[in-house]
Symmetry: D2
Subunit: 288 residues, 4 copies
Amino acid sequence: MRASWQERFAEASDVLKSSQRQQTVVRVLDLEIGGSDFITMAGPCSVETEQQILSIAAHVRKQGARVLRGGAFKPRSSPYAFQGLGLAGLKLLAKARSETGLAIVTEVMSEDDVPLVAEYADILQIGSRSMENYTLIEAAARSGKPILLKRGMMATVEDLMRSAQLAIGAGNPNVILCERGIRTFDNALRNTYDPAAIALLKQISHLPVIADPSHACGHRELVPALARIGVAAGADGMIVEVHPQPEKAWSDGEQSLSFDEFDGMMAMLEPYIALRGAANRTLVGRVG
Amino acid sequence: MRASWQERFAEASDVLKSSQRQQTVVRVLDLEIGGSDFITMAGPCSVETEQQILSIAAHVRKQGARVLRGGAFKPRSSPYAFQGLGLAGLKLLAKARSETGLAIVTEVMSEDDVPLVAEYADILQIGSRSMENYTLIEAAARSGKPILLKRGMMATVEDLMRSAQLAIGAGNPNVILCERGIRTFDNALRNTYDPAAIALLKQISHLPVIADPSHACGHRELVPALARIGVAAGADGMIVEVHPQPEKAWSDGEQSLSFDEFDGMMAMLEPYIALRGAANRTLVGRVG
Amino acid sequence: MRASWQERFAEASDVLKSSQRQQTVVRVLDLEIGGSDFITMAGPCSVETEQQILSIAAHVRKQGARVLRGGAFKPRSSPYAFQGLGLAGLKLLAKARSETGLAIVTEVMSEDDVPLVAEYADILQIGSRSMENYTLIEAAARSGKPILLKRGMMATVEDLMRSAQLAIGAGNPNVILCERGIRTFDNALRNTYDPAAIALLKQISHLPVIADPSHACGHRELVPALARIGVAAGADGMIVEVHPQPEKAWSDGEQSLSFDEFDGMMAMLEPYIALRGAANRTLVGRVG
Amino acid sequence: MRASWQERFAEASDVLKSSQRQQTVVRVLDLEIGGSDFITMAGPCSVETEQQILSIAAHVRKQGARVLRGGAFKPRSSPYAFQGLGLAGLKLLAKARSETGLAIVTEVMSEDDVPLVAEYADILQIGSRSMENYTLIEAAARSGKPILLKRGMMATVEDLMRSAQLAIGAGNPNVILCERGIRTFDNALRNTYDPAAIALLKQISHLPVIADPSHACGHRELVPALARIGVAAGADGMIVEVHPQPEKAWSDGEQSLSFDEFDGMMAMLEPYIALRGAANRTLVGRVG
């Protein structure tokens, strides 16, 4: 079996486990992503105001999140959607970090913005729409900051691994993979969540893998179940959208959790997260 | 939100939760499917020999399975694949039931076979390739036996609910839905497993829902992780392929668990199954 | 290259061209399908009334159609859609044949109905939803009547060829393949029309291939363009829905052509059909 | 019907036909794209050497092509594929233009490269992988050069129109749309060609639309049939890969036509192109 995955994914060989490398741990501030802790990244879709981002940061920190997410440069789902606050948004994120100690993850959409975003963020997010923007991935990788690489909506697992390979090839081994749902014929939910990809990647790759239950379903009331599925799939963490007033969010409100919903989810997940380490150890079978 | 799902799935309204009906419990022998217990259905892809089916039945029973699966009439993945033992296979399944007390689930592929299969089986399986064979579904439903309705590889959640509606309309409320992976552009695994469909169905439908981790991935070593994902998604049970010598199975060997692998999986799942009831109760948000 | 297609589609080897068999010509009444003529099959989605089917038959005959289509047993897109007139519909089709000389193609949905449908129809249609109903395909094939095998909405070209192989294996070489659109992530039109599959099948298979522009798009105003694409793809014919008052049709009205639209389409297609034979001869490259 | 398409594609309203604008004609050197002539763009996947590009340019010019394609900055299908000659490639394209009079279309992959590519090229290509790179599209649009916008492998028709809307919104009305195949569950060919999208776009949009038969199928021997389908779909032109020695091409050799194959295709297409204008005028039905 070992030979088979190695052969199938030969173009992404640096992403696969090897005798030298079984697990990459990405260090960010005092955090270890890909280590023993399950890391929750939470925050709004977009940074909107100082009051908004600081109140969210304080709340999610209290509930156990370790990384603050929030878009300053927004990947618009359409040309007319909100494009983000830009530099002002980055500064607000930095302020939230200094107040809470949370690490910051935010998207970079243009190679020209890499130096600016890398100055403020602790992790550079490559969004779904950019997963095959190789120029951007290489520029982001060369910044030296850890990369959060989101799977494209119609990217195969192999495509995702090849993009990760490119970042590693540019000299940056600190790549975190993220499953966030793919496009299929079914439209019951926003996307089709693919946690088997998480389970597969955890078996064959040494890179940390996280789940994005918010984008995967697009319906707030299913986010906790999808987060639980992500934990059960073996993810090293998750990234989730939270907003004090989801119905008033400037973007993605229908998939953002309220504070109460976030708190309920975190409490519900606790025993699953506790089981996670043990479960990983009892997996039958081993893939190369 | 209630209005929205009701409107979207209006053609399957009898499948949706209502003030009258929050949860259907399907009774089979002494079992309750859709009740508080997580029900494991296990067995070979195909019934091969008396020795094979009896040894599997005894083993999975000991490990906690409550239903024996096994194909007598086989849905061939190609015209030249093994087609099953037919009546002889049904008789072997009945013998396994009388020796172990396990209920029997087996597929019926042709409306002409419904009376015969219904004479031997406790649950009639409608396979993926038959999910839109309305004539067959109605014939099976009229037999009075509970129906295990597998989602088609190319069926939306709505398509699945409409086929269930048809069985209910034919006078048979005892329908168990089964998620088993869908066809997408990705070919990393055999199918793309869709546990968010399980979570969605558990929120909006009163019917029991089970997971099929074997067909969803097609790789033995990932079956336990996919089973765990199914539990976390809120499934009422699972159906899984087991074979004493997977490498010698007449069909689907690459996705069948050996006895040891099955035992390891059942032990690993135990604490997740214990959490399942509690988790269902703490879900934030409620869908109509 | 020859080796490659032969290898890839080895499970459908009887469907592939060989030194013995370059082209199958299916003979129906006085027609040759797969020969030099482009064969138009036209008629309503469902047989509704005597007046309806006779008027349509007379009209499409006058415009050059050679086969009358019309559903007597209907593949319902949902459990509550119109299910067809059954035997009464078959008798009306037979009456239309005796009045016009048109051959009759109609769907058979249940193996139990095969003898009845075969008594009245000249060609038995296996619908999209039945393309993997192997029991039905074999029963239909054994009737001795030519088979019109429609591609399933999520069937690969290989799946289609394997179903055809099954009919040939049951002793019936007279199989006509039909491309009618597949399910994809795009929902701009009803389905995604795949004429490259027609071009591919014409190069590698000896079976006749026809196009169904009506189901492929689901929008009446695009049917003529899709029919023209089918001719250009090298199809041996087409099957198209026509209704005297599409807006009043009992089913599929939005994709049925009015008489005027059908006439306009047939006139527009004429020079393309004239070019068809010549074009086939100048194809560069040859596939095995 | 008019209301329906307008409503469905409201976010791309500037791309739709209106009473003010029925057809955009893009002028490039002495060419009109979107006018009465069918425009053939041909050339190698990648510019390799002076001898290669000059010989191809001379050959395709003689056979009726009006635009020379050729990659200088290459969108790699994997991180390790050939990345193109860069500036040296642009200079060779310019030399080919001065020798043949052919206009030049070449891809720009990075916003930083826009000024450079715009200095040499007559049409800036936005590749499939960049179709949702809004930053790049806006930068390319602001250069003032016409844009050839290729549909993403995973983009709906609506997504394509929204990207075109963005270019128009950036002040550049000269956008040419290009259908090149999408990703689906079928892998018989490289992609699933979607000429119904061409027919739909020609009915609802005023922008020119061209077909890319080379990328759509990935098999040289099917390119002529797919080109013919594109003409029949109503395309305003096509873009096709040609190489003097396809088996020695540095990239995409398996889908490149040899000179002889290109000549055969152009001769075969001639009568279809002649019919094209007339066919457009006799379409039954009209969409808003």
